[in-house]
Symmetry: C2
Subunit: 598 residues, 2 copies
């Protein structure tokens, strides 16, 4: 079995749930069919298994080091990323006229995911490059695109997002980096950026930083933020590299996990002129930044999911092969030990992983399909509808997998017991890698505020109605199956409670009180979303079994995971939403001095 | 503020909750009073802060290495453990006639805990030595005690527990190490032991292994297990050290955390005669082993709790000092940023930590006081009652802190954001250290089966009734206070559901079905236990405030944490117990091939 992907599940999501065939039949994707899709996934899986997976532990142990002001990365990292580039894989998500493969996002998302499961920190360097290039294509001037886009798409130059500063992480309103107009359309950058993934490395010929900064006369706060493209090396008119642009590595952060990706503190313009190009217009930096950030957020959800999947597959294989103990009540020591997958609690730990991981994968795939459908939308109204749904789901697509596949990795480690806790096995590494995901690209708490404070009220509430319609669509079909009736009712009830909660919260005029339990709402809403996607999967599985499919194990496994999620996880939503709707102020009201009494 | 202990809370638990004064008034503890107790805690805190805490990161980074068949530990480790021994601190929990301080366990537990918060892996070497020595004192022959006890109590020789083998972790019935009688009361040991903490080190003059093994004609399974004392160096009649006893280090395990404690694979008798002494009688090894194991399990609960406390205190300090962002709805960027402790979600993350950590500390302190009261019990009946309560609470005292203070460490890291994820700050280390606790000394799942399969039915159910009486005692007093009435009702309801669940589960004849959701029961019962202890603390705080205490912040903080636990955590119990009592078989029934469909 593969330890990084379950291709049967990928096909299930692409073809049986999200109707990739319909996308492939469109003019936009006419160069692709089931065969080319399988071929690119085969290529990705083979390269990931042959090259990326075997060195994952080594990259974790020998992280990049700071030497003479440079970040030195291990040779093996350069080697595997060269294979990735040489095979043209960075181009998966770009249009043909930009030199890309023009794959549906539903497919390119899995290409990315397969590498993330094998070796997330290695793929990290390309992960942000893709979202930067998409943003540059959407927001940058023609000349900027002409200079920078092709090498980024091809993966020869790698990209970064430079938002945070040492004193300003979540609070972008307070960044201090300054961009002073030079007079010829260029700007002098000056400031310090923190937590910049891939901010310095010796892998690519150039690095393209996307930097948030303020112009000297910009208004305070987020309304005065602009976005600049700042290359590590300046680029001559003919595309060749010019002088060093004075983006200086001040230090590497030493992380708990994701160690193969450099994480940097960068000084801009301290040692000499650091030139940047404005992307879009002044003071609209945040809007442009969100173009790449939203994509990165969904990418973080995928990153988490694939750590979760890798842990799930590994612990499943271990549970099948590790003999230990006997059934309770059946203690004859002369009988052979059972493989631990026979023990109820091990099954529960596996089922919980399956429910979280495959549920998350369904969510990320659904989001990817929304992106594809946006591109095919026949009207602005249709496109707007898809955009609103994606906006609503983005905080959940980022946060739910980050929280709950971390729990899945915890379970995977538990299944291996002492072995899981040692560095000789991959579980503890996956768990350390995954722990980053609730922190970066907006902390878990920030996404709660985004969801309850903003997203549920977009378009005067039309967004929530769109989501409810998606649920009704699935429930409507599922209700035709007796076995799914209980789940349908549970989902409708939970969804009704979500809507009622939003109404009750909106009625409260005090903003602090309204948002005091936003994180609970985020988790609960996420549970409802995942329950919906499980019901959908169970529906398709039920129909397949009714048609006499010979894949009984696969489809009945989907039904079991659905039942698990509805019985063990969804019921948690009720009490959480009650707290949110009752505007519980226990947390809001405690004073700093009450925590330890001094 | 201290980053390892809140002495005000320690005093609260000792004097206001658990009535240490009454213990100190007894003849057994006549050498101690509030002053000597404070003095030994002062000593522990000062040594822990001055010597153990500053090198914790260094010990994590430079773990012991395997060289020439030996485990080489860093010099700093030897230095601080020498201070610990020189100060006489290993003797804290032993009786005066054994050369100990004869402190109540309620106090010595905090002495241990303070060092665990500062540097758990360093204290690890002494942690098992104490439980081994207690067991040896209770179960060993006089001559064994005469030879081995004093150097162990003094901390000159360190002890280990050798239970697991590479193929047998949880399933002790299947161990294969053999002890062949030599004819002179000694045995030849032969076999391999795995996961042995401190199994080899260069810190102490000798190592005393407590080894589970079978005699050649022993019955199969746990009924044929005996316990042997096996020293690293043989001991001459005059107490001097003799020949190497052929306990050979085969390798070190490289762990995710707790790196300062060696964790070893040991071969017994492979290279030559390895002699062991029988402890107690043949085939009663498991009973004797549990004497030390139960103490170690409660010690693991304390270990987890103190990792949780250290993370709580660190993140609290950070939250008070880190400015970031403004209140939602109050976004004027010209206003200064707030310390993050002002944000509702940060307060929630701190409150959850406070509730878990101080709740766990109350539980471990309650258990320690039970141990003290056993020693003072005036009748066998009274002693039996205390023993049953301790037996019932042991799986919870081990498991609840292991699970929920790990979550607390996750929250602490979240509060520090990117900083929390780096190795420059202690949070990620505490989180890694703590992750061991749900695995060792019985996995989380094993304790669930122990609790639901055995402990709740001890003494024909009298045990549960004793626990219920403890709850009623607190509720009876709390009901006198209007403000606590809701909590009282919630606790009684949850407790009633526990009892009803046990009854429903007991009525099911199929053992596998009965125990299929035992882990959920463990967590839910733990929540009820912690809720009871929070109500107790809130009761005492309410009474103190009513008496006009000038420690308003401390006591009202206790009330806030109690309210948090009852509003945010206790409600989770209902759905969990419903699953247990309805004997949900979703997990039990899934077949291995259904997980991924092949």
């Amino acid at each position: 079995m593969s330890f990084i992907v379950n291709r049967r599940d990928v096909d299930f999501l692409m073809y049986e749930i999200l109707n990739l065939d319909e996308l492939l039949a469109s003019e936009r994707y006419q160069d692709h069919d089931r065969e080319t899709v399988a071929a690119v996934l085969d290529l990705a899986q083979q390269m990931a298994e042959d090259e990326f997976l075997p060195c994952a532990a080594e990259l974790d142990e020998h992280e990049p080091v700071f030497e003479d002001g440079q970040a030195k990365t291990p040779p093996i990292l350069k080697k595997i990323l060269k294979s990735f580039v040489d095979a043209g894989l960075p181009t998966a998500s770009f249009d043909t006229d930009l030199g890309g493969m023009q794959l549906p996002a539903l497919v390119s998302n899995f290409v990315q995911g397969i590498f993330q499961a094998a070796n997330a920190p290695a793929l990290g360097y390309h992960f942000l490059t893709a979202s930067n290039a998409h943003m540059l294509h959407a927001c940058g001037s023609e000349s900027l695109q002409a200079q920078f886009l092709a090498p980024m798409i091809e993966g020869r130059w790698l990209g970064t997002m430079c938002l945070s500063e040492p004193h300003a992480g979540s609070s972008l309103a307070d960044i201090r980096t300054v961009a002073t107009p030079k007079g010829d359309g260029l700007y002098h950058l000056s400031g310090t950026k923190m937590w910049i993934s891939g901010g310095e490395q010796d892998i690519s010929d150039n690095i393209v930083h996307m930097v948030l900064a303020r112009t000297p006369d910009a208004p305070a706060g987020v309304r005065g933020i602009s976005l600049f493209l700042v290359p590590k090396y300046r680029v001559n008119a003919d595309g060749s590299l010019g002088d060093f642009n004075n983006v200086v590595l001040a230090g590497l952060n030493h992380k708990m996990g994701q160690r193969g990706t450099t994480n940097t503190l960068l000084n801009f313009g301290e040692s000499g002129d650091c030139l940047g190009y404005l992307v879009g217009t002044e003071n609209e930096g945040l809007k442009n930044m969100f173009h790449m950030m939203n994509e990165a957020r969904i990418g973080v959800g995928m990153l988490a999911t694939m750590s979760g999947l890798a842990g799930y597959l590994y612990s499943l294989d271990y549970a099948r092969n590790r003999p230990q103990g006997r059934h309770p009540g059946d203690k004859d020591p002369n009988e052979p030990m059972l493989p631990i997958i026979e023990h109820a609690d091990i099954k529960r730990l596996l089922l919980d992983q399956k429910a979280s991981v495959e549920g998350s994968l369904a969510l990320l795939s659904y989001c990817a399909a929304l992106v594809d459908k946006q591109k095919l939308a026949s009207s602005d109204e249709e496109k707007g509808r898809l955009t609103l749904l994606l906006e609503l789901l983005t905080p959940i697509a980022k946060s739910w997998p980050s929280e709950f596949t971390l729990e899945a990795n915890k379970h995977a480690m538990q299944i291996l017991g002492g072995y899981g806790y040692t560095r000789e096995y991959p579980l503890e590494r996956l768990y350390r890698d995954n722990r980053l995901n609730p922190i970066h690209e907006g902390t878990h708490g920030i996404h709660g505020i985004d969801l309850l404070g903003r997203k549920v009220n977009l378009a005067q509430g039309a967004t929530l109605a769109l989501f409810k319609a998606e649920i009704d669509r699935v429930v409507g079909r599922a209700q035709e199956h007796q076995d799914l009736a209980t789940h349908c009712n549970a989902l409708l009830e939970a969804c009704a409670q979500i809507l009622a909660t939003v109404e009750l919260v909106n009625a409260e005029p005090n903003t602090r009180k309204r948002l005091a339990n936003a994180t609970l709402f985020l988790d609960a809403f996420g549970h409802v979303v995942i329950a919906w996607l499980w019901l959908w999967q169970a529906l398709v599985a039920t129909e397949a079994l009714a048609k006499g499919s010979d894949e009984e194990a696969f489809y009945s496994g989907k039904l079991a995971a659905c039942r698990y999620f509805f019985n063990y996880q969804l019921p948690k939503v009720r009490e959480q939403l009650t707290l949110v709707s009752e505007l519980d102020t226990t947390a809001l009201e405690i004073a700093p001095e009450q925590f330890i009494g001094s």
